[in-house]
Amino acid sequence: MMDSTVHRSREVNGDTLARIAQKRRKGPPPKRGYPWGKVSHYVYCALSYIFLLSPMIVVIGASFHGGEYYTAIKFPPEDPSLQWYTKIPTAQFKALALSFGLATLAALGACIIGIPAALGIVRGKLPGRSVISSVFRAPLQIPAIVTGIAFLQLYYLFGDATGLYFQGTFIGLYIGHLFVATPYVVGTVTAILQRFDVRLEEAAFSLGANRWRTFRRVTLPVIMPGVYAGALYSFMVSFADVPISIFLTAPGFVTYPVELFYGMENDFDPSILASSSLVIFFCLLVLLGMQKLVGLDNLLRSGSR
């Protein structure tokens, strides 16, 4: 990987290199044809965006449709109303609450496990550093559905041995989510730590701060963007998960995506549209908060693995 500070030096006295090159040429700038390459690039990207965003826009749009039950799904919506928003059954709210609590705790747990792991990977004198860091990355390499069934069988075996059955309980679900959430925090914090200037800590230490104070006042603030990024990723991964949760939930105890999944397979209730729209708005809101807190580009830069 190249040093990320290199490409910030491309501006010299406010001039881009391309402009400098142009100034040095004698005479007027060379004539160029219509930039078809650029235009086709923009058009292509616009089509990608339409492809990517259309399902969500359609869901939000259709949620405002005011028709009767069996003609209730229509886009563009006619006779706009909020009727489906008032008809969201409590089961969906219960599922949403479970998903939210689970994702929050998963993000928290991922930080508690992930931050020390990243510190150890970058700074520890480790034999086989690459092996250890690939162990922490492994949960991302294991197909999600395999993780789901693996934990289900682990819980059965553990239950048979101890009488303590974890499947269909919050703890069981939580361990599964924590397993896939942790690698994100490890990844983002590792990325930031690798660029960390150790002299900052040495300065704090030589000025009389103890280890804990140095960590609290110097190290932590610097790695915070990575922590936020990792926490956001792990929250969202947990909040959106189906393949792991579907094995570890039980009737009456389901996360929101699983509730939706069963809803779409069985009895199709248009109120799903309304609650889905609420979730999309919620994701937008979380994002806005993150943009205010650390800035989206900082968030993603530290997310580069």
Partner: protein, 284 residues
């Protein structure tokens, strides 16, 4: 200041390591025992489940469909995603924030909601069919439910946002000054892309595409909902084997085959890319 950071790592390593070893060991071991029905398994280990997998054309076909749809989805995600990632990474206006926000929202909203939207778009009187039939391209409504096209489209929606974010971070590590230098020295836009951007981004792009491929191989939701009970991929089959047939060992076998296939394809691709690079075919 001497902090022994390796000890700081130890508790986390034990937790993660224990969870990996325990969970993988249990289902891999279970896959060697025969199902006796109703969730009970036999006492003696045998290869019977694996024999069944590799002699039954249905299972082999399922494996092929899984690899094919995942591979196609990963390639399409790359072709749709790379230009977008490049656009955002090289953009210098406020707009890049808004474009990024669109990608991030698309990444984080659960795939179930997106599949829901897809079903509405492609329904018999949905937008796509209204357009297609209005233009006289098709007579009968076109559907993506229950065929492999639908599964690939669903997988793409599962991975595209994440793919753009991955590629974005890859492109950001390539100094823009190199592109400027190529163009100042007279390289055309295409030539610059081919000779500078492509070789420099190749290692990162390979890793990114493999990650997307892995995500698709483990993806269950889009294949289950858009496959409509007609297209089976291994993840769908694993869930059915557990939930409907209650055959844990066979499901374990399917999961083991899936896991090994993913690992093999990853190793093979990395090996091929290394060979390619050492043969100087790529970095000219």
């Amino acid at each position: 200041m001497k902090t022994r950071w390796e000890y700081v790592l130890l508790p986390s390593f034990l937790i993660v390591g224990l969870l990996i070893v325990a969970s993988q060991y249990v289902f891999l071991k279970g896959s060697f025992f025969k199902d006796l029905g109703l969730g009970r398994i036999s006492d003696t280990a045998s290869m019977v489940n694996y024999l069944r997998f590799f002699t039954d054309s249905f299972y082999l076909h399922t494996l092929w469909v899984t690899v094919k749809t995942s591979g196609l989805a990963a390639l399409f995600t790359l072709t749709l995603g790379f230009p977008v990632a490049y656009l955002i990474a090289r953009m210098q206006s406020k707009w890049s924030m808004i474009l990024l926000a669109g990608i991030v929202v698309a990444t984080f909203v659960t795939i179930v909601i997106k599949v829901f939207g897809l079903i509405i778009i492609f329904s018999a009187d949905g937008l796509v069919n209204q357009a297609l039939m209005g233009l006289g391209i098709v007579d009968t409504p076109y559907t993506i439910i229950g065929n492999q096209t639908g599964v690939v489209v669903g997988l793409m929606h599962f991975t595209l946002g994440f793919g753009v974010l991955l590629l974005y971070s890859v492109i950001q590590t390539i100094p823009r000054s190199l592109e400027d230098a190529a163009q100042i020295h007279g390289a055309s836009r295409w030539r610059m892309h081919l000779r500078v951007l492509f070789p420099l981004s190749l290692p990162g792009v390979t890793v990114g595409v493999l990650m997307i491929f892995n995500m698709c191989m483990g993806a269950f939701t889009s294949a289950a909902l858009l496959g409509g009970g007609r297209v089976f991929t291994l993840p769908v089959l694993i869930q059915r084997t557990v939930m409907m047939e209650i055959k844990y060992s066979m499901a374990g076998t399917l999961a083991a085959v899936l896991l090994v296939t993913v690992l093999l394809i990853n190793l093979l691709s990395i090996y091929l890319i290394r060979r390619l690079r050492s043969a100087r075919l790529v970095i000219a």
